[in-house]
């Protein structure tokens, strides 16, 4: 089934009603957890099943978890002024050295941020909120390749985090002042005599309204309104003398509009109500858009709720449509979803080894904080080709085998030793767990592996094939080796790539 047609028999009005109690069951709870987070862990599953969809979503979206500023980001900020001075005032050689140092520090800081964010997102109780943040950052996109300064990237995500559950209007206003955004979409260069249209265009097209809901003239006028927005060493600054305070006409209204006024006008457009819900469908449900009547209905309701993001999340994730059969089971996990799901399913911690981790994520096609362009990640089938599938399989092999510590570089060994000192060592599959599984008879072992990791396959032909594989392997391989192989194969199978 696909979503091109109206899903099952729900009308547009029924689609957004709360799921009736009699349709709530373990499969539905699992669907909820896998889609709003990265996997369904037993403890969360039991609690969600008891609480029902509304209370569960309200709990997960009650408030955003905190992500304390990573140490290397702080370091980067501390050295910022000095590096800035050397870059702007030093000799050519001094300037070059300072630029290189700035890049180095920024890169190290980004690695630190990546590991810290993945670690937070991998905590099952935090996963839904962190996935929501990933969603918002896939709408309000900035990329480190152009922004260059990881401290601004951290700050941008902190802004998203701060407004993630407030209202979309406040969020939009805050993001228009995000120093990373000011750099990323060229507000920094925008002047009254030469307004830069980049931000105004993407604000309408990719952040709030979608194509076809504004004119080229609206963009030109809005660009004038956003003149004077600057960032100075990581702080937002408004320069009145660089701001065009003259009269502008857009969306049929005339006035001496500021940037905030433009955002206010944007959210008077009907398309502002439907845009984010459509993005949610794309990010959480399906590559196929819903028929307009469905998103129109939700958009009208959401506009009436003053674009409250928390209310939108609760409504969307507990709706009949979200749980409808057409929306289940056919979603291709993104590389981050896949990785974090594996970490949770295998009971692991995120390894403090950025070289390996970032290498894996990059070859699967998704580097955190580094989207391909302002459109964000395309998602869906574009994640899958022979090379990215091979990379997914390699990641599994890496997580199931003990770390080869001898092949690590010195700095990595230091990171690892620090983690060990904190008592964290579960960076790859626990070998004792493997041994416990290996003691089970093949039928029991297959059931355990499937129930725990790919419950959708329980009782299927595939379970029987795994039993046969384990029985046959017993003739020549160690039970641990065969068990690891069976688990790897289950995780590599098409079923595990979907949820």
């Amino acid at each position: 089934m696909t979503m091109g047609q109206p899903p099952t028999v729900l009308t547009a009005a029924e689609a957004w009603q709360t799921l009736p109690v009699h349709e709530w069951n373990e499969a539905a709870a699992r669907h909820l957890l896998q889609r709003i987070g990265f996997s369904a862990q037993p403890a969360e599953l039991a609690r969600v099943l008891k609480d029902g969809p509304v209370r569960s979503v309200e709990r997960y979206f009650a408030k955003m978890p905190a992500l304390p500023k990573p140490r290397m980001i702080t370091n980067l900020e501390k050295h910022g002024p000095e590096l800035f001075r050397r870059i702007s005032a030093g000799s050519a050689e001094e300037k070059r050295m300072a630029q290189q140092e700035a890049r180095e520090r920024s890169r190290e800081a980004l690695f630190d941020l990546t590991i810290k964010w993945l670690t937070l997102a991998s905590r099952p109780e935090c996963s839904p909120a962190e996935k929501w943040l990933l969603f918002l950052s896939d709408v309000w996109v900035v990329g480190v390749d152009k922004v260059k300064n990881s401290a601004l990237i951290y700050q941008h995500h902190d802004i998203l985090r701060h407004f993630a559950l407030s209202d979309a209007v406040s969020l939009a206003k805050a993001v228009s002042r995000s120093p990373a955004m000011v750099v990323y979409l060229d507000l920094q260069q925008s002047k009254p005599e030469a307004p830069n249209e980049n931000f105004a265009r993407e604000l309408f097209e990719l952040f709030t309204l979608g194509e076809g809901n504004y004119t080229e003239n609206d963009i030109k006028q809005a660009a004038r309104a956003f003149t004077g927005y600057r960032q100075r060493q990581g702080e937002f600054a408004f320069l009145p003398r660089q701001h065009d305070s003259g009269s502008k006409t857009l969306f049929g209204q005339t006035g001496r509009f500021t940037g905030d006024d433009v955002i206010r006008l944007v959210f008077k457009q009907k398309a502002a109500g439907t845009f984010l819900p459509k993005e949610m469908v794309r990010f959480y449900l399906s590559e196929e858009p819903l028929p307009a009547a469905y998103t129109d209905a939700l958009g009208a309701w959401w506009a009436g709720e003053k674009y409250d993001l928390h209310k939108l999340a609760v409504k969307f994730f507990s709706s009949r449509l979200f749980f409808s059969p057409a929306c289940r089971g056919g979603y291709i996990k993104s590389p981050l979803h896949f990785y974090l799901g594996l970490v949770q399913d295998l009971g692991l911690s995120v390894a403090p080894l950025p070289r390996q981790l970032i290498g894996n994520l990059r070859s699967m096609g998704q580097m955190p904080f580094d989207p391909p362009n302002v459109r964000g990640w395309v998602g869906g089938r574009s994640w899958i080709n022979s090379a990215t599938l091979a990379s997914r399989r390699q990641l599994i092999q890496a997580l199931l085998s003990p770390l080869n510590e001898e092949a690590l570089n010195g700095d990595e060994q230091i990171e690892l030793a620090a983690a060990y000192a904190d008592g964290i060592r579960n960076f790859t599959l626990d070998q004792a767990q493997l041994t416990r599984w290996a003691r089970l008879a093949p039928a029991e072992r297959a059931r355990e592996l499937i129930q725990r990791h790919v419950p959708a396959l329980a009782g299927t032909e595939i379970e029987r094939q795994v039993v046969t594989f384990l029985e046959r392997s017993a003739q020549h391989s160690r039970a641990e080796t065969a068990t690891r192989a069976a688990l790897a194969t289950l995780l590599e199978s098409p079923s595990y790539q979907l949820c």
Partner: protein
């Protein structure tokens, strides 16, 4: 393999066999690997078997060049390496000033036999001493302050592999757990990874199980995405299965050492011997980040490298494939000339690299670094690594290097 009826055909003949047995070409072709369907229809010609092949060997962690090709006659060497400096009993002389580390006996032999070239003092301007960044610079072929989204070999694939008919053989094969950045390309090309080392029996059985799983509809069989995933995965599995068959049946003509590195090279030889259309192989040997108590660890790594490469070369020679293959090593940086306080060495800059093959111009290329450096000062490179790449691209792979590297470099004489 135990399964007497393989579910997936891995050759054109097996595939056609399915057709006559009534499975039905078209019925099957929904999930059949694209290239098999194509070739079944088109009677595609056999792969070209005489193309040149590049095997890239990464020495990950930063190899200590000064203790690999040792300038033993230079008094500065003793000054910089009071403890780690190698004595004459630990050296194999190349000429009056340079010698191999004693663990490189096999490479020393290859040099004497005229099959090994040493490109001295290779690096780049404004060197970076971060593993991650310097590896990235080497793999993307960028300047020190330039960030490229694609790898140098990926751009080679973009130039050389597009437009060629799909035949199923990947453009590049990596032996290891992480796709090298060198392979990242603008367009999509089939690239492939094989687990490093051996244990082939287990691997082929895992593969058979995965094949069954991919074949068995489960969950949402009708969902388009499930079908798409199965289809793509089958494409990849057919290649892998073909490869596993090749690896399992390979009869070596040389005694490979028991190390995983040598096992990987053996697998490369097997694929080359089977006439695979792949032009680039990538093998990695890690552990070169020798910050403390370097002596034994480094000797051990050099021995693995040296003996693995020698077995590989002799295997290829016995199979008369040696004229087709060029092997080249690289490492993200060399190490600091002055040893540190922990009997190790810290991150440095330039280092020598090796080129191996029957068509290599043997001996020393480029110039040796000056060791007249202050304590903790680094070597100044004399050959840009991209000049090495451009030589390989132009003179070995037959691809215009300026299109890949963005500019022309003066070719080196090692081919």
């Amino acid at each position: 393999m135990n399964n007497p009826h393989p579910i997936l055909p891995s050759t054109r003949r097996e595939f056609l066999h399915y057709g006559v047995k009534g499975v039905g070409l078209l019925a099957f072709s929904r999930f059949a690997p694209g290239f098999l369907v194509e070739s079944a229809y088109a009677q595609a010609p056999a792969p070209e078997k005489d193309r040149t092949i590049l095997v890239l060997v990464q020495l990950a962690g930063g190899n200590d060049g000064l203790n690999t090709v040792v300038p033993f006659a230079d008094p500065h060497y003793r000054r910089l390496r009071p403890n780690l400096g190698l004595g004459s009993d630990q050296l194999l002389r190349i000429n009056d000033t340079l010698a191999f580390h004693g663990a490189c006996a096999a490479l020393h032999e290859l040099l004497k036999d005229g099959k090994l070239g040493i490109v001295q003092n290779v690096g780049y301007p404004n060197p970076n001493r971060s593993h991650f960044r310097s590896t990235e610079i080497w793999e993307t072929g960028s300047d020190s302050n330039e960030f490229l989204p694609t790898g140098w070999l990926g751009r080679y694939f973009d130039n050389a592999c597009s437009g060629t008919p799909r035949r199923g053989d990947p453009c590049g094969v990596n032996l290891g757990n992480e796709m090298p950045q060198s392979f990242l390309s603008e367009q999509q090309h089939p690239t492939f990874s094989l687990p490093a080392g051996r244990n082939r029996r287990q691997q082929s059985e895992n593969l058979a199980l995965l094949e069954q799983l991919v074949q068995t509809p489960a969950g949402h069989p009708d969902h388009d995405n499930a079908g798409y995933l199965r289809h793509t995965m089958m494409d990849a599995l057919v290649t892998e299965k073909k490869f596993q068959k090749v690896l399992a049946n390979y009869q070596t003509k040389a005694a490979y050492p028991g190390t995983p590195f040598a096992g990987s090279l053996r697998n490369v030889a097997a694929l080359i011997a089977a006439g695979t259309a792949t032009r680039v192989y990538y093998v990695s040997l890690g552990g070169f980040d020798t910050h403390n108590n370097q002596a034994n660890a480094h000797a051990n790594l050099l021995r693995q490298l040296s003996e693995g490469l020698a077995a590989f070369q002799s295997d290829l020679e016995a199979k008369r494939l040696d004229g087709q293959v060029l092997t080249m090593t690289f490492s993200e940086f060399g190490r600091r000339p002055s040893e540190n306080e922990s009997r190790g060495t810290d991150h440095g800059t330039a280092a020598p690299l090796f080129v191996l093959g029957s068509r290599v111009k043997p001996g020393l290329h480029g110039t040796a670094p000056s060791l007249d450096v202050a304590r903790n000062q680094d070597l100044q490179y004399s050959t840009d690594f991209r000049a090495v790449y451009s030589t390989v691209l132009d003179q070995w792979l037959g691809c215009k290097s300026s299109a890949i590297l963005g500019q022309d470099y003066r070719p080196l004489g090692f081919i």
